[in-house]
């Protein structure tokens, strides 16, 4: 297996003085909250940390022991999972799967196919490598939706599935100790995301986990049924597009702005069948949750998967949540990339994606005349703890009340608890929930995917009329949140909060500077 090139300037952990502006500085709450505890020395000796930005010109491959053909991170992960020493883009290979995730919408179908093809009495390949996370249509009276959670319970019982984050009391999510919420956020919070692994999920936003330096992508029920029985999948090795984001992240900019910027640049099919690899000084300064937001929308550019090289931030997050051993990989200095994009992040401005496409990019400030009817903050893209912290920070700085209904849907139980318990820096000890209440937002709702994808008719915050909504979610195709004529502006939590305060699409700098 190709060994990584050792950089001549070894990676140095950032001290708190040069830490990103995102360091909100609040004290540790539970293991789930995203705190920058720097443990630079821990286990860093055995891991080869590579500066992807500095290809080695002075050391030939022969002297470092790397194979002649350099591989990208994704190629390396897939090669190792296919038990091969080398793969190149275009190779069709059988890959071993480390984790398979499914939820209430696709789980029943996946298991149905598994039984049909492997037999009614068949057993899954490894009951500890399957994670079942009900999250899509949970808090609804829709009988079929409720039935689907029950079906998953039966399958998990029968197969002895270790990780089933069940919910039985739909009237009170807190009464369900196992229930988590949005699968992609839960996977990370529960320690199922590990560098170097292969994670598949029956959901397009499975690519979120690429933030952890693993290969993570979405698959359909039939492929999932196959994995359930075999633990393997047939994959074509994708070529990698490299996105290097450098520069200091402005205080009003978030990862959502970065990915909307990129998708606007390359279009909704700009990365089809390809890997999107993100690196650069800006990326290194992002927290895990921000990296998750970035990788989450890779699929919106058509991308097969997204990856970010693991570093101290990654290791710190992961090692706090799992004791399963893992081994990160890094792109070789002489790896081939099919495209190279560079951004100076310090020059970027808050952006939105206008209806009806995630690549319909516009500067937020240029949309200030767009009158809106509501704001939605939630989903795997924009419903994590830091997303709510950001919105609360802006509301507090503004000191005003929202002008339109503002719906808040924490992604998971942990996020919901953070919203009610964590103090927002600079607010004199107020929690997000208190600030939201003072600003006149709706009460934070039960954690789930919620209205991001519309859902059954009784879904909280569903767009049931042709209204204009600014949302921290991931897609705005016609009918995405319910009504076919609904108009959805995708935005960062800062932009969403600012827009709620004015009743128009608003650049967050109106309130943050």
């Amino acid at each position: 297996m190709a060994s990584s090139v050792i950089s001549s300037s070894p990676f140095v952990c950032k001290s708190s003085s040069s830490s990103s502006k995102k360091d909100l500085g609040f004290s540790s709450f539970t293991k789930s909250s995203q705190i920058s505890i720097h443990r630079c020395q821990k286990k860093s000796i055995s891991r080869k940390i590579v500066s992807v930005m500095a290809p080695q010109k002075d050391r030939s491959p022969g002297t470092t022991g790397s194979v002649k053909t350099g591989m990208t991170m994704t190629e390396k992960i897939l090669a190792r999972a296919a038990e091969k020493s080398l793969v190149v883009p275009g190779d069709n290979i059988w890959v071993n799967v480390d984790v398979l995730m499914t939820h209430d919408v696709c789980g029943p179908g996946a298991f149905g196919i598994f039984k049909r093809e492997f037999g009614e009495k068949a057993k899954v390949w490894d009951p500890e490598k399957i994670v079942v996370i009900p999250d899509h249509y949970i808090f609804t009276a829709d009988k079929r939706a409720n039935r689907n959670v029950d079906i998953m319970r039966e399958h998990c019982k029968e197969q002895n599935i270790k990780y089933f984050y069940d919910i039985t009391d739909l009237g009170n999510f807190k009464a369900n100790p196992d229930y988590k919420g949005v699968c992609h956020v839960a996977l990370a919070q529960e320690g199922h995301c590990r560098p170097g692994e292969v994670l598949l999920g029956t959901d397009s936003h499975t690519c979120t986990a690429g933030a952890f330096g693993q290969f993570a992508t979405g698959i359909g029920n039939t492929d999932a049924g196959f994995v359930l029985g075999t633990g393997k999948i047939l994959l074509k090795v994708p070529p990698t597009m490299r996105f290097i984001l450098d520069g200091e992240m402005p205080s009003y900019l978030q990862a959502k702005d970065l990915i909307l910027q990129i998708i606007g640049e390359i279009s909704v099919a700009g990365a089809t069948y390809k890997t999107m690899e993100f690196s650069g000084t800006c990326i290194e300064s992002l927290s895990m949750e921000e990296r998750m937001t970035l990788c989450n929308m890779v699929v919106e550019a058509g991308g097969k998967n997204g990856v970010i090289p693991p570093d101290a931030t990654t290791l710190n997050y992961v090692e706090n949540r799992t004791s399963v051993p893992f081994e990160p990989v890094y792109s070789d200095g002489n790896a081939s990339f099919v495209a190279d994009y560079r951004f100076d992040v310090s020059k970027l401005e808050p952006v939105v994606a206008k209806p009806h496409s995630p690549d319909n990019r516009a500067l937020a400030r240029e949309c200030k005349d767009v009158k809106i009817d509501r704001v939605y903050i939630g989903s795997c893209t924009g419903g994590k703890t830091e997303d709510f912290m950001a919105a609360a920070k802006l509301f507090h700085a503004a000191g005003k009340k929202v002008k339109v209904p503002t719906f808040l849907v924490p992604a998971t139980q942990k996020v919901w608890m953070d919203v009610y318990a964590l103090p927002v820096p600079g607010s004199g000890g107020k929690t997000c929930a208190q600030i939201f209440e003072e600003a006149g937002c709706d009460t934070p709702a039960s954690p789930s995917c919620g209205a991001c994808l519309g859902g059954p008719a009784d879904t909280y915050a569903r767009l049931n009329e042709p209204q204009v909504c600014v949302s921290t979610t991931n897609r705005n195709f016609p009918g995405r949140m319910g009504h076919k004529e609904g108009q959805i502006y995708l935005a960062s939590p800062y932009t969403a909060a600012a827009s709620a305060l004015t009743g128009h699409v608003t650049d967050p700098r109106e309130f943050l500077q």
Binding site: P108, I219, P478, R480, K484
Partner: protein, 257 residues
């Protein structure tokens, strides 16, 4: 055999012409079916009010999963869409409560196929109240099937009776799901067929011996070469991912379940 085929062809076209909404000019009864000269088995389904596609199988074959089959040539009416048709337009997420592997649910999914299209499309793919579509070929632009990984998308199209999509390009997961499920054939065009065809045109999708395919629009009298299936070909020809894996020895033969 040839003479009976020829007369069959004109019957075929007359039936198709009468079933299409548009009054079409007389269709040339030129033979479009390439038959394996050694085959003797011939299956022909006459066009009835409930079926929309005529399937001619060039050799005796079964469509059961696990058995290889030569690719079918078929024709029927086409339904034309443009770029970036995402999975929520193909099947709105609220129908995601239906489970595609349950036959009754699958039928229901078919009745909702392409329900999410905005009003300006005019024609409905499935007439409200009906379970099947009268269109057998969907013609699309770029990035067809973008969005979700939910298999409900290709499943509902197949359940509604569509046989193939002919698009300029596909989103990755949708294409993969078409191949894995075998519900609908994903074909790629070389030009923007969606700009040259109209909903209701009578088309034939013909598969050739060399692996390439052809789309013939009988209404406009134009032919379009389609791209070969590439890496997906062996999986489709085997009958889906399970059959392919069995052939490759990755999983044991299916036991009767």
């Amino acid at each position: 055999m040839a003479t009976s085929l020829h007369s069959l062809n004109s019957t075929l076209f007359k039936s198709l012409a009468s079933s299409s909404n548009k009054s079409s000019s007389s269709l040339s009864p030129s033979p479009v079916f390439r038959l394996n000269p050694t085959s003797t088995a011939f299956i022909f389904k006459p066009l009835t009010s409930s079926s929309s596609a005529i399937i001619i199988r060039a050799s005796a074959s079964s469509s059961k999963s696990g058995e290889s089959h030569t690719r079918e040539t078929f024709h029927g009416l086409c339904f034309v869409l443009k770029d970036n048709i995402d999975t929520d337009q193909i099947i709105p997420a609220e129908y995601g409560t239906l489970i595609p592997s349950i036959p009754e649910d699958r039928e229901k999914l078919g009745s909702f196929a392409l329900n999410g299209l905005p009003k300006f499309y005019g024609e409905r793919f499935v007439v409200p109240g009906e379970m099947k579509s009268k269109y057998s070929v969907i013609i699309g632009g770029d990035n067809f099937g973008c969005g979700s990984s939910r298999e409900h998308a290709p499943v509902c199209l197949g359940a509604a009776g569509a046989k193939a999509v002919v698009a300029e390009s596909y989103a990755r997961i949708f294409f993969r799901n078409c191949v894995a499920t075998g519900e609908i054939f994903p074909l790629e065009s070389e030009v923007r067929i969606c700009d040259e065809c109209k909903t209701g045109d009578v088309v034939t999708v013909e598969h050739k011996e060399d692996g390439s395919s052809l789309l013939i629009n009988h209404t406009t009298r134009k032919e379009y070469k389609l791209k070969p299936l590439g890496d997906a070909g062996p999986v489709i020809d085997a009958g889906g991912i399970f059959a392919y894996a069995r052939k490759a020895g990755m999983i044991p033969s299916a036991s009767s379940a």
